[in-house]
Protein backbone atom coordinates (compact mmCIF):
# COMPACT_ATOMS: atom_id res chain seq x y z
CA UNK A 1 0.00 0.00 0.00
CA UNK A 2 1.59 3.24 -1.14
CA UNK A 3 1.28 6.20 1.19
CA UNK A 4 0.06 9.70 0.47
CA UNK A 5 2.58 12.30 -0.72
CA UNK A 6 3.85 14.41 2.19
CA UNK A 7 2.41 17.79 3.12
CA UNK A 8 5.58 19.51 1.86
CA UNK A 9 5.57 17.76 -1.50
CA UNK A 10 1.90 18.60 -2.02
CA UNK A 11 2.64 22.17 -0.92
CA UNK A 12 5.44 22.41 -3.48
CA UNK A 13 3.12 21.08 -6.21
CA UNK A 14 0.46 23.60 -5.19
CA UNK A 15 3.06 26.36 -5.41
CA UNK A 16 4.13 25.34 -8.91
CA UNK A 17 0.57 25.12 -10.18
CA UNK A 18 -0.36 28.45 -8.55
CA UNK A 19 2.57 30.10 -10.31
CA UNK A 20 1.60 28.50 -13.60
CA UNK A 21 -1.99 29.67 -13.23
CA UNK A 22 -0.78 33.15 -12.35
CA UNK A 23 1.50 33.41 -15.36
CA UNK A 24 -1.39 32.49 -17.68
CA UNK A 25 -3.04 35.81 -16.77
CA UNK A 26 -0.74 37.91 -18.92
CA UNK A 27 -2.21 41.32 -18.01
CA UNK A 28 -2.01 40.68 -14.31
CA UNK A 29 1.59 39.42 -14.61
CA UNK A 30 2.67 42.60 -16.41
CA UNK A 31 0.71 44.87 -14.11
CA UNK A 32 1.78 43.23 -10.84
CA UNK A 33 5.41 43.14 -11.91
CA UNK A 34 5.61 46.69 -13.12
CA UNK A 35 3.19 48.38 -10.72
CA UNK A 36 5.81 49.26 -8.10
CA UNK A 37 8.16 50.60 -10.81
CA UNK A 38 5.36 52.73 -12.25
CA UNK A 39 4.45 54.05 -8.80
CA UNK A 40 8.05 54.90 -8.17
CA UNK A 41 8.28 56.73 -11.49
CA UNK A 42 5.26 58.81 -10.51
CA UNK A 43 6.48 59.61 -7.01
CA UNK A 44 9.99 60.20 -8.23
CA UNK A 45 8.70 62.81 -10.70
CA UNK A 46 6.29 64.52 -8.34
CA UNK A 47 8.58 64.75 -5.34
CA UNK A 48 12.02 65.77 -6.40
CA UNK A 49 14.73 66.97 -4.10
CA UNK A 50 16.07 65.87 -0.76
CA UNK A 51 14.46 64.89 2.53
CA UNK A 52 17.53 65.06 4.77
CA UNK A 53 21.03 63.64 5.08
CA UNK A 54 21.38 63.63 1.30
CA UNK A 55 18.49 61.18 0.85
CA UNK A 56 16.36 61.87 -2.20
CA UNK A 57 12.62 61.24 -2.20
CA UNK A 58 12.93 58.42 -4.71
CA UNK A 59 15.39 56.63 -2.45
CA UNK A 60 13.05 57.10 0.51
CA UNK A 61 10.05 55.80 -1.42
CA UNK A 62 11.89 52.71 -2.62
CA UNK A 63 11.26 51.17 0.80
CA UNK A 64 7.60 52.16 0.58
CA UNK A 65 7.25 50.60 -2.87
CA UNK A 66 8.79 47.30 -1.74
CA UNK A 67 6.54 47.22 1.32
CA UNK A 68 3.58 48.16 -0.84
CA UNK A 69 4.38 45.25 -3.18
CA UNK A 70 4.53 42.95 -0.17
CA UNK A 71 1.12 43.91 1.13
CA UNK A 72 -0.45 43.93 -2.34
CA UNK A 73 0.83 40.57 -3.54
CA UNK A 74 0.34 38.90 -0.19
CA UNK A 75 -2.40 40.29 1.97
CA UNK A 76 -4.52 41.98 -0.69
CA UNK A 77 -4.27 39.26 -3.37
CA UNK A 78 -5.06 36.44 -0.95
CA UNK A 79 -7.80 38.26 0.96
CA UNK A 80 -9.53 38.83 -2.40
CA UNK A 81 -8.68 35.64 -4.26
CA UNK A 82 -9.39 33.08 -1.55
CA UNK A 83 -13.04 34.21 -1.15
CA UNK A 84 -13.31 34.01 -4.95
CA UNK A 85 -11.88 30.49 -4.94
CA UNK A 86 -14.35 29.67 -2.20
CA UNK A 87 -17.22 30.97 -4.34
CA UNK A 88 -16.27 29.37 -7.64
CA UNK A 89 -15.96 25.94 -6.04
CA UNK A 90 -12.24 25.38 -6.53
CA UNK A 91 -11.54 25.33 -2.79
CA UNK A 92 -14.38 22.92 -2.19
CA UNK A 93 -12.96 20.69 -4.89
CA UNK A 94 -9.58 20.69 -3.14
CA UNK A 95 -11.31 19.94 0.16
CA UNK A 96 -12.66 16.73 -1.41
CA UNK A 97 -9.14 15.46 -2.07
CA UNK A 98 -6.55 14.27 0.48
CA UNK A 99 -4.60 17.55 0.35
CA UNK A 100 -4.10 19.13 3.81
CA UNK A 101 -4.85 22.82 4.33
CA UNK A 102 -1.18 23.34 5.22
CA UNK A 103 -0.13 22.32 1.70
CA UNK A 104 -2.57 24.83 0.28
CA UNK A 105 -1.01 27.55 2.48
CA UNK A 106 2.49 26.50 1.44
CA UNK A 107 1.43 26.81 -2.19
CA UNK A 108 0.09 30.31 -1.61
CA UNK A 109 3.29 31.30 0.19
CA UNK A 110 5.39 30.07 -2.74
CA UNK A 111 3.26 32.11 -5.13
CA UNK A 112 3.55 35.26 -3.00
CA UNK A 113 7.29 34.76 -2.55
CA UNK A 114 7.87 34.34 -6.28
CA UNK A 115 5.75 37.31 -7.17
CA UNK A 116 7.52 39.58 -4.61
CA UNK A 117 10.91 38.34 -5.72
CA UNK A 118 10.22 39.31 -9.33
CA UNK A 119 8.75 42.68 -8.33
CA UNK A 120 11.68 43.61 -6.10
CA UNK A 121 14.09 42.51 -8.79
CA UNK A 122 12.53 44.82 -11.39
CA UNK A 123 12.10 47.62 -8.88
CA UNK A 124 15.76 47.57 -7.89
CA UNK A 125 16.95 47.38 -11.50
CA UNK A 126 14.59 50.18 -12.53
CA UNK A 127 15.60 52.22 -9.50
CA UNK A 128 19.30 51.90 -10.18
CA UNK A 129 19.00 52.57 -13.90
CA UNK A 130 16.46 55.43 -13.93
CA UNK A 131 16.14 56.96 -10.48
CA UNK A 132 19.68 56.97 -9.13
CA UNK A 133 18.94 54.50 -6.33
CA UNK A 134 21.96 53.33 -4.35
CA UNK A 135 22.03 49.69 -3.31
CA UNK A 136 23.63 48.67 0.00
CA UNK A 137 27.07 47.17 -0.28
CA UNK A 138 27.47 45.46 3.08
CA UNK A 139 26.47 41.80 3.52
CA UNK A 140 25.00 42.72 6.90
CA UNK A 141 22.40 45.01 5.29
CA UNK A 142 21.42 42.37 2.75
CA UNK A 143 21.05 39.86 5.56
CA UNK A 144 18.67 42.18 7.41
CA UNK A 145 16.82 42.73 4.13
CA UNK A 146 16.43 38.96 3.69
CA UNK A 147 15.18 38.59 7.26
CA UNK A 148 12.66 41.39 6.90
CA UNK A 149 11.46 40.06 3.56
CA UNK A 150 11.08 36.58 5.06
CA UNK A 151 8.99 37.88 7.96
CA UNK A 152 7.15 40.27 5.67
CA UNK A 153 6.19 37.67 3.07
CA UNK A 154 5.21 35.16 5.75
CA UNK A 155 3.18 37.72 7.68
CA UNK A 156 1.52 39.20 4.61
CA UNK A 157 0.53 35.72 3.39
CA UNK A 158 -0.71 34.51 6.76
CA UNK A 159 -2.70 37.67 7.44
CA UNK A 160 -4.17 37.50 3.94
CA UNK A 161 -5.37 33.94 4.55
CA UNK A 162 -6.69 34.99 7.96
CA UNK A 163 -8.53 37.98 6.50
CA UNK A 164 -10.00 35.87 3.68
CA UNK A 165 -12.71 34.78 6.12
CA UNK A 166 -13.98 38.33 6.51
CA UNK A 167 -15.49 39.13 3.07
CA UNK A 168 -18.91 37.54 2.75
CA UNK A 169 -18.47 36.78 -0.95
CA UNK A 170 -15.83 36.76 -3.65
CA UNK A 171 -17.52 39.60 -5.49
CA UNK A 172 -17.58 41.83 -2.44
CA UNK A 173 -14.05 40.98 -1.35
CA UNK A 174 -12.18 43.72 -3.17
CA UNK A 175 -14.60 46.38 -1.87
CA UNK A 176 -13.71 45.33 1.68
CA UNK A 177 -10.00 44.70 1.24
CA UNK A 178 -8.72 47.45 -1.07
CA UNK A 179 -9.79 50.46 1.06
CA UNK A 180 -8.16 48.88 4.10
CA UNK A 181 -4.92 48.36 2.20
CA UNK A 182 -4.89 51.90 0.78
CA UNK A 183 -5.61 53.55 4.13
CA UNK A 184 -3.03 51.36 5.80
CA UNK A 185 -0.45 52.48 3.23
CA UNK A 186 -1.22 56.18 3.82
CA UNK A 187 -0.91 55.71 7.58
CA UNK A 188 2.29 53.71 7.42
CA UNK A 189 4.49 56.01 5.39
CA UNK A 190 4.34 54.27 2.02
CA UNK A 191 3.30 57.41 0.14
CA UNK A 192 4.53 60.09 2.54
CA UNK A 193 7.47 60.64 4.82
CA UNK A 194 6.33 58.88 7.98
CA UNK A 195 7.57 61.49 10.44
CA UNK A 196 5.61 64.20 8.64
CA UNK A 197 2.29 62.40 9.29
CA UNK A 198 0.01 63.57 12.13
CA UNK A 199 1.03 62.19 15.49
CA UNK A 200 -2.13 60.10 16.05
CA UNK A 201 -1.67 58.49 12.64
CA UNK A 202 1.89 57.56 13.50
CA UNK A 203 0.80 56.02 16.78
CA UNK A 204 -1.97 54.04 15.14
CA UNK A 205 0.37 52.76 12.43
CA UNK A 206 2.95 51.73 15.04
CA UNK A 207 0.67 48.93 16.20
CA UNK A 208 0.36 47.52 12.68
CA UNK A 209 3.06 45.69 10.73
CA UNK A 210 3.30 47.82 7.59
CA UNK A 211 4.96 50.80 9.30
CA UNK A 212 7.65 48.48 10.65
CA UNK A 213 8.09 46.83 7.31
CA UNK A 214 8.73 50.22 5.66
CA UNK A 215 11.08 51.32 8.43
CA UNK A 216 12.99 48.04 8.30
CA UNK A 217 13.45 48.28 4.55
CA UNK A 218 14.54 51.94 4.88
CA UNK A 219 17.22 50.80 7.32
CA UNK A 220 18.63 48.70 4.48
CA UNK A 221 18.47 51.18 1.61
CA UNK A 222 19.07 54.53 3.35
CA UNK A 223 22.39 55.67 4.81
CA UNK A 224 22.76 55.07 8.54
CA UNK A 225 22.89 58.80 9.19
CA UNK A 226 19.25 59.01 8.11
CA UNK A 227 18.26 57.03 11.20
CA UNK A 228 18.38 60.40 12.97
CA UNK A 229 15.32 61.40 10.95
CA UNK A 230 13.24 58.44 12.16
CA UNK A 231 10.76 58.77 15.01
CA UNK A 232 13.08 57.52 17.76
CA UNK A 233 16.26 58.68 15.95
CA UNK A 234 17.27 55.07 15.37
CA UNK A 235 16.40 52.20 12.98
CA UNK A 236 15.02 50.07 15.84
CA UNK A 237 16.01 46.94 13.92
CA UNK A 238 15.42 44.64 16.92
CA UNK A 239 11.98 46.02 17.59
CA UNK A 240 11.13 45.84 13.88
CA UNK A 241 11.99 42.13 13.71
CA UNK A 242 10.06 41.53 16.93
CA UNK A 243 6.88 43.28 15.77
CA UNK A 244 6.98 41.53 12.38
CA UNK A 245 7.49 38.15 14.08
CA UNK A 246 4.53 38.75 16.38
CA UNK A 247 2.30 39.61 13.42
CA UNK A 248 3.53 36.56 11.52
CA UNK A 249 2.68 34.26 14.45
CA UNK A 250 -0.65 36.00 14.97
CA UNK A 251 -1.47 35.59 11.27
CA UNK A 252 -0.55 31.90 11.33
CA UNK A 253 -2.62 31.17 14.43
CA UNK A 254 -5.68 33.03 13.13
CA UNK A 255 -5.48 31.52 9.65
CA UNK A 256 -5.06 27.95 10.91
CA UNK A 257 -7.90 28.38 13.41
CA UNK A 258 -10.39 30.09 11.16
CA UNK A 259 -9.65 28.83 7.65
CA UNK A 260 -12.71 27.39 5.95
CA UNK A 261 -12.66 25.45 2.70
CA UNK A 262 -16.28 26.20 1.98
CA UNK A 263 -19.22 28.14 3.32
CA UNK A 264 -21.59 25.75 5.00
Amino acid sequence: MKSLPSTWIMGWRRGMIEIRQFTRQKESVVFTTLFPVILMAIFGSVFTGEISHGVKFSQYFLAGMIASGLINSGFQQLAINIPMERDDGSLKRLRGTPIPATSYFIGKTILVFTSIFVQVFFLLIGGVLFFGIHLPTSAHKWLIFALIMFLGIGGSTALGVAFSNVPKSGRGASAVVIPIVIILQFFSGVFFVFTQLPHWMQQFASVLPLKWLCQGIRSVFLPDAFAQSEVTHSWETGRTLLVLSIWLILGLVISIRTFKWNRE
Partner: protein, 328 residues
Protein backbone atom coordinates in the same frame (compact mmCIF):
# COMPACT_ATOMS: atom_id res chain seq x y z
CA UNK B 1 -26.24 -13.94 -3.45
CA UNK B 2 -25.89 -10.22 -3.05
CA UNK B 3 -29.63 -9.92 -2.89
CA UNK B 4 -29.93 -12.55 -0.17
CA UNK B 5 -27.32 -10.86 1.92
CA UNK B 6 -29.11 -7.58 1.59
CA UNK B 7 -32.36 -9.25 2.64
CA UNK B 8 -30.75 -10.75 5.73
CA UNK B 9 -29.21 -7.46 6.60
CA UNK B 10 -32.44 -5.53 6.17
CA UNK B 11 -34.23 -8.04 8.39
CA UNK B 12 -31.46 -7.71 10.87
CA UNK B 13 -31.49 -3.95 10.96
CA UNK B 14 -35.24 -3.75 11.45
CA UNK B 15 -35.04 -6.34 14.22
CA UNK B 16 -32.08 -4.44 15.63
CA UNK B 17 -34.25 -1.35 15.91
CA UNK B 18 -37.12 -3.30 17.48
CA UNK B 19 -34.90 -4.52 20.26
CA UNK B 20 -33.28 -1.14 20.62
CA UNK B 21 -29.85 -2.34 19.58
CA UNK B 22 -27.82 -4.91 21.45
CA UNK B 23 -29.50 -3.95 24.69
CA UNK B 24 -30.04 -6.21 27.66
CA UNK B 25 -32.20 -9.19 26.82
CA UNK B 26 -31.78 -8.88 23.07
CA UNK B 27 -30.78 -12.11 21.41
CA UNK B 28 -27.55 -10.62 20.13
CA UNK B 29 -25.96 -14.05 19.59
CA UNK B 30 -28.44 -14.58 16.81
CA UNK B 31 -27.46 -11.42 14.96
CA UNK B 32 -23.78 -11.65 15.65
CA UNK B 33 -23.82 -14.52 13.17
CA UNK B 34 -25.40 -12.38 10.47
CA UNK B 35 -23.11 -9.50 11.30
CA UNK B 36 -20.05 -11.57 10.62
CA UNK B 37 -21.72 -13.09 7.58
CA UNK B 38 -22.14 -9.79 5.80
CA UNK B 39 -18.99 -8.23 7.04
CA UNK B 40 -17.03 -11.10 5.55
CA UNK B 41 -18.72 -10.49 2.22
CA UNK B 42 -17.68 -6.85 2.59
CA UNK B 43 -20.52 -5.71 0.36
CA UNK B 44 -21.58 -2.61 2.23
CA UNK B 45 -19.79 0.59 1.26
CA UNK B 46 -22.24 3.07 2.76
CA UNK B 47 -24.44 2.58 5.83
CA UNK B 48 -26.74 5.36 6.96
CA UNK B 49 -29.21 5.13 9.80
CA UNK B 50 -31.79 7.69 10.83
CA UNK B 51 -29.87 10.64 9.39
CA UNK B 52 -31.10 14.12 10.31
CA UNK B 53 -29.93 17.53 9.16
CA UNK B 54 -31.69 20.76 10.01
CA UNK B 55 -31.11 24.26 8.62
CA UNK B 56 -32.87 27.02 10.52
CA UNK B 57 -35.58 24.63 11.72
CA UNK B 58 -36.08 23.26 8.20
CA UNK B 59 -35.62 19.49 8.16
CA UNK B 60 -33.47 19.19 5.04
CA UNK B 61 -32.84 15.52 5.80
CA UNK B 62 -35.46 13.92 7.98
CA UNK B 63 -34.58 10.41 9.03
CA UNK B 64 -32.87 8.72 6.09
CA UNK B 65 -31.71 5.10 6.07
CA UNK B 66 -29.47 3.86 3.29
CA UNK B 67 -27.33 0.87 2.59
CA UNK B 68 -25.24 0.90 -0.57
CA UNK B 69 -23.31 -2.10 -1.80
CA UNK B 70 -19.92 -2.44 -3.34
CA UNK B 71 -19.91 -2.17 -7.13
CA UNK B 72 -23.41 -0.79 -7.27
CA UNK B 73 -24.62 2.32 -9.11
CA UNK B 74 -27.02 3.88 -6.69
CA UNK B 75 -29.14 6.84 -7.78
CA UNK B 76 -30.78 9.34 -5.49
CA UNK B 77 -33.71 10.85 -7.30
CA UNK B 78 -35.86 13.74 -6.20
CA UNK B 79 -37.08 17.23 -7.00
CA UNK B 80 -34.95 20.33 -6.32
CA UNK B 81 -34.61 20.95 -2.61
CA UNK B 82 -35.54 17.39 -1.70
CA UNK B 83 -32.35 16.89 0.31
CA UNK B 84 -30.29 15.00 -2.29
CA UNK B 85 -27.26 17.25 -2.22
CA UNK B 86 -27.35 17.65 1.56
CA UNK B 87 -27.41 13.88 2.00
CA UNK B 88 -24.56 13.34 -0.43
CA UNK B 89 -22.50 16.15 1.08
CA UNK B 90 -22.86 14.54 4.50
CA UNK B 91 -21.60 11.26 3.02
CA UNK B 92 -18.67 13.08 1.39
CA UNK B 93 -17.73 14.81 4.63
CA UNK B 94 -18.55 18.35 3.48
CA UNK B 95 -21.36 18.79 5.97
CA UNK B 96 -21.97 17.70 9.52
CA UNK B 97 -25.18 15.98 10.56
CA UNK B 98 -27.45 16.75 13.46
CA UNK B 99 -28.02 13.11 14.35
CA UNK B 100 -27.90 9.59 12.99
CA UNK B 101 -25.20 7.11 12.13
CA UNK B 102 -23.10 7.31 8.98
CA UNK B 103 -20.37 4.92 7.87
CA UNK B 104 -18.69 5.39 4.51
CA UNK B 105 -15.96 2.87 3.71
CA UNK B 106 -16.09 2.11 7.44
CA UNK B 107 -15.24 5.71 8.30
CA UNK B 108 -17.30 8.50 9.80
CA UNK B 109 -16.99 11.18 7.09
CA UNK B 110 -17.50 14.15 9.41
CA UNK B 111 -14.52 13.11 11.55
CA UNK B 112 -11.75 15.66 10.94
CA UNK B 113 -8.84 13.98 12.68
CA UNK B 114 -6.60 11.05 11.85
CA UNK B 115 -7.75 8.97 8.93
CA UNK B 116 -9.67 11.78 7.22
CA UNK B 117 -7.05 12.21 4.52
CA UNK B 118 -6.84 8.45 3.99
CA UNK B 119 -10.63 8.44 3.67
CA UNK B 120 -10.53 11.12 0.97
CA UNK B 121 -7.75 9.17 -0.74
CA UNK B 122 -10.28 6.35 -1.29
CA UNK B 123 -13.22 8.39 -2.56
CA UNK B 124 -13.79 10.58 -5.59
CA UNK B 125 -16.12 13.55 -5.60
CA UNK B 126 -17.70 15.27 -8.57
CA UNK B 127 -19.42 18.36 -7.25
CA UNK B 128 -22.07 20.47 -8.88
CA UNK B 129 -20.47 22.83 -11.35
CA UNK B 130 -17.24 24.59 -10.56
CA UNK B 131 -16.46 27.80 -12.39
CA UNK B 132 -12.82 28.65 -11.73
CA UNK B 133 -10.83 30.70 -14.21
CA UNK B 134 -9.60 27.57 -16.01
CA UNK B 135 -6.16 28.89 -16.85
CA UNK B 136 -4.60 25.42 -16.93
CA UNK B 137 -4.84 22.88 -19.72
CA UNK B 138 -6.90 19.72 -19.35
CA UNK B 139 -3.80 17.59 -18.95
CA UNK B 140 -2.14 19.96 -16.47
CA UNK B 141 -5.23 19.95 -14.30
CA UNK B 142 -5.62 16.17 -14.25
CA UNK B 143 -1.91 15.63 -13.78
CA UNK B 144 -1.77 18.10 -10.90
CA UNK B 145 -4.69 16.50 -9.08
CA UNK B 146 -3.15 13.06 -9.52
CA UNK B 147 -0.36 14.34 -7.26
CA UNK B 148 -2.72 14.45 -4.27
CA UNK B 149 -3.33 10.70 -4.12
CA UNK B 150 -1.41 7.66 -2.94
CA UNK B 151 -2.26 5.46 -5.89
CA UNK B 152 -3.43 7.66 -8.76
CA UNK B 153 -4.42 6.53 -12.21
CA UNK B 154 -2.25 7.50 -15.13
CA UNK B 155 -3.28 11.10 -15.99
CA UNK B 156 -3.05 10.52 -19.74
CA UNK B 157 -5.26 7.46 -19.51
CA UNK B 158 -7.77 9.43 -17.50
CA UNK B 159 -7.80 12.19 -20.11
CA UNK B 160 -8.43 9.55 -22.79
CA UNK B 161 -11.11 7.79 -20.77
CA UNK B 162 -13.15 10.96 -20.32
CA UNK B 163 -12.99 11.51 -24.07
CA UNK B 164 -10.83 14.62 -23.93
CA UNK B 165 -7.77 13.09 -25.57
CA UNK B 166 -7.87 15.59 -28.41
CA UNK B 167 -8.43 18.43 -25.95
CA UNK B 168 -5.61 17.60 -23.59
CA UNK B 169 -3.65 20.73 -24.47
CA UNK B 170 -6.71 22.99 -24.48
CA UNK B 171 -7.11 25.54 -21.70
CA UNK B 172 -9.99 24.60 -19.44
CA UNK B 173 -11.87 27.87 -20.02
CA UNK B 174 -12.10 27.07 -23.74
CA UNK B 175 -14.04 23.84 -23.10
CA UNK B 176 -17.78 23.51 -23.65
CA UNK B 177 -20.06 22.88 -20.67
CA UNK B 178 -20.21 19.15 -21.39
CA UNK B 179 -16.44 18.88 -21.83
CA UNK B 180 -15.87 20.74 -18.60
CA UNK B 181 -18.20 18.36 -16.79
CA UNK B 182 -16.16 15.46 -18.20
CA UNK B 183 -13.07 17.08 -16.79
CA UNK B 184 -14.83 17.29 -13.41
CA UNK B 185 -15.39 13.55 -13.64
CA UNK B 186 -11.75 13.07 -14.61
CA UNK B 187 -10.72 14.89 -11.43
CA UNK B 188 -13.10 12.68 -9.48
CA UNK B 189 -11.59 9.45 -10.78
CA UNK B 190 -7.90 10.32 -11.10
CA UNK B 191 -7.29 9.18 -7.51
CA UNK B 192 -8.50 5.69 -8.43
CA UNK B 193 -11.41 5.81 -5.97
CA UNK B 194 -13.30 2.83 -4.58
CA UNK B 195 -16.34 5.04 -4.26
CA UNK B 196 -17.37 7.87 -6.57
CA UNK B 197 -19.96 10.55 -5.81
CA UNK B 198 -21.59 12.33 -8.73
CA UNK B 199 -23.84 15.27 -7.95
CA UNK B 200 -26.18 16.00 -10.87
CA UNK B 201 -23.45 15.21 -13.37
CA UNK B 202 -25.34 15.83 -16.61
CA UNK B 203 -27.32 18.97 -15.85
CA UNK B 204 -27.23 21.13 -18.96
CA UNK B 205 -26.03 18.38 -21.32
CA UNK B 206 -27.50 17.84 -24.74
CA UNK B 207 -28.94 14.33 -25.24
CA UNK B 208 -25.92 13.03 -27.13
CA UNK B 209 -23.44 14.29 -24.55
CA UNK B 210 -25.59 12.69 -21.86
CA UNK B 211 -25.50 9.33 -23.59
CA UNK B 212 -21.69 9.50 -23.98
CA UNK B 213 -21.46 10.37 -20.33
CA UNK B 214 -23.53 7.35 -19.34
CA UNK B 215 -21.10 5.15 -21.26
CA UNK B 216 -18.26 6.64 -19.26
CA UNK B 217 -20.03 5.88 -15.98
CA UNK B 218 -20.85 2.32 -17.06
CA UNK B 219 -17.18 1.85 -17.86
CA UNK B 220 -16.30 2.83 -14.31
CA UNK B 221 -18.69 0.28 -12.92
CA UNK B 222 -16.93 -2.39 -14.97
CA UNK B 223 -13.80 -1.45 -13.05
CA UNK B 224 -15.62 -2.17 -9.80
CA UNK B 225 -16.15 1.42 -8.65
CA UNK B 226 -19.18 1.99 -6.46
CA UNK B 227 -21.08 5.02 -7.70
CA UNK B 228 -23.55 7.22 -5.87
CA UNK B 229 -25.36 9.54 -8.22
CA UNK B 230 -27.88 12.28 -7.59
CA UNK B 231 -30.01 13.36 -10.48
CA UNK B 232 -33.36 14.80 -11.36
CA UNK B 233 -33.38 13.12 -14.74
CA UNK B 234 -35.49 9.99 -14.61
CA UNK B 235 -34.08 8.51 -17.78
CA UNK B 236 -30.63 8.88 -16.30
CA UNK B 237 -31.56 6.90 -13.21
CA UNK B 238 -33.25 4.30 -15.40
CA UNK B 239 -30.30 3.99 -17.76
CA UNK B 240 -27.59 3.78 -15.13
CA UNK B 241 -28.76 2.79 -11.71
CA UNK B 242 -28.94 -0.66 -10.17
CA UNK B 243 -31.13 0.80 -7.46
CA UNK B 244 -32.90 4.11 -7.04
CA UNK B 245 -33.90 5.94 -3.89
CA UNK B 246 -36.70 8.42 -4.41
CA UNK B 247 -36.45 11.22 -1.90
CA UNK B 248 -38.75 14.15 -1.19
CA UNK B 249 -38.83 16.66 1.66
CA UNK B 250 -35.90 14.97 3.34
CA UNK B 251 -37.50 11.54 3.47
CA UNK B 252 -36.93 8.41 1.41
CA UNK B 253 -40.18 7.38 -0.26
CA UNK B 254 -38.91 4.15 -1.75
CA UNK B 255 -35.76 2.27 -2.65
CA UNK B 256 -35.90 -0.27 -5.45
CA UNK B 257 -34.57 -1.20 -8.86
CA UNK B 258 -35.75 1.19 -11.58
CA UNK B 259 -37.88 -1.61 -13.06
CA UNK B 260 -39.68 -2.37 -9.79
CA UNK B 261 -40.02 1.14 -8.44
CA UNK B 262 -43.58 2.02 -7.43
CA UNK B 263 -44.66 -1.58 -8.21
CA UNK B 264 -44.13 -0.71 -11.83
CA UNK B 265 -43.40 -4.27 -12.91
CA UNK B 266 -46.65 -5.61 -11.48
CA UNK B 267 -48.86 -2.63 -12.18
CA UNK B 268 -51.75 -2.91 -14.59
CA UNK B 269 -51.20 -2.29 -18.27
CA UNK B 270 -53.24 0.38 -19.99
CA UNK B 271 -54.88 -0.50 -23.30
CA UNK B 272 -56.46 2.32 -25.22
CA UNK B 273 -58.14 2.53 -28.58
CA UNK B 274 -60.79 4.44 -30.49
CA UNK B 275 -64.28 3.25 -31.20
CA UNK B 276 -67.24 5.21 -32.54
CA UNK B 277 -65.17 8.39 -32.56
CA UNK B 278 -64.20 8.35 -28.86
CA UNK B 279 -61.22 7.07 -26.92
CA UNK B 280 -61.56 4.06 -24.69
CA UNK B 281 -59.11 2.87 -22.12
CA UNK B 282 -58.93 -0.18 -19.97
CA UNK B 283 -56.52 -1.10 -17.16
CA UNK B 284 -55.77 -4.80 -17.05
CA UNK B 285 -53.26 -7.41 -15.90
CA UNK B 286 -53.98 -9.35 -19.12
CA UNK B 287 -53.44 -6.87 -21.95
CA UNK B 288 -52.98 -9.66 -24.54
CA UNK B 289 -56.44 -10.99 -23.77
CA UNK B 290 -57.96 -7.52 -24.14
CA UNK B 291 -56.24 -6.98 -27.48
CA UNK B 292 -57.36 -10.44 -28.71
CA UNK B 293 -60.90 -9.54 -27.83
CA UNK B 294 -60.63 -6.21 -29.64
CA UNK B 295 -59.27 -7.99 -32.72
CA UNK B 296 -62.53 -9.89 -32.93
CA UNK B 297 -64.58 -6.71 -32.54
CA UNK B 298 -62.79 -4.80 -35.27
CA UNK B 299 -62.06 -5.88 -38.76
CA UNK B 300 -58.49 -5.06 -39.69
CA UNK B 301 -56.67 -2.35 -37.75
CA UNK B 302 -57.91 -1.45 -34.28
CA UNK B 303 -58.06 2.36 -34.49
CA UNK B 304 -55.32 4.14 -32.50
CA UNK B 305 -54.48 1.04 -30.46
CA UNK B 306 -51.78 1.43 -27.81
CA UNK B 307 -50.72 -0.77 -24.90
CA UNK B 308 -48.55 0.86 -22.27
CA UNK B 309 -47.27 0.43 -18.75
CA UNK B 310 -46.43 3.09 -16.21
CA UNK B 311 -43.16 4.77 -17.08
CA UNK B 312 -40.64 5.56 -14.40
CA UNK B 313 -41.78 9.15 -14.77
CA UNK B 314 -45.40 8.18 -14.07
CA UNK B 315 -44.59 6.32 -10.88
CA UNK B 316 -42.10 8.95 -9.78
CA UNK B 317 -44.54 11.82 -10.20
CA UNK B 318 -47.21 9.77 -8.47
CA UNK B 319 -44.89 9.17 -5.51
CA UNK B 320 -43.86 12.81 -5.23
CA UNK B 321 -47.48 13.96 -5.51
CA UNK B 322 -48.66 11.49 -2.91
CA UNK B 323 -45.97 12.55 -0.46
CA UNK B 324 -46.63 16.26 -1.06
CA UNK B 325 -50.33 15.57 -0.51
CA UNK B 326 -49.71 13.78 2.78
CA UNK B 327 -47.64 16.55 4.24
CA UNK B 328 -49.97 19.44 3.40
Amino acid sequence: MLHQIRLIRDLHSSAFDLWGGYGEGSPSYLFAFFDSAWQDEDVSVIEVRNLHKTYDRLEAVDGIDLSIDQGEIFAILGPNGAGKTTTVEILEGFRTRNSGEVRVLDFDPQFKGKGAREFRDRIGIVLQSTSDAGDLTVYETIHHFSGYYSNPRNPLEVVESIGLGEKKRALVHTLSGGQRRRLDVGLGIVGNPELLFLDEPTTGFDPEARRDFWELIRGLRELGTTIVLTTHYLEEAEALADRVAVINRGKILEIDTPANLGDRSTSLARVHWESAGKMNEQFTDKPTEVVAKLMKEFTGEIPKLAVSRATLEDVYLQMINDSDGEST
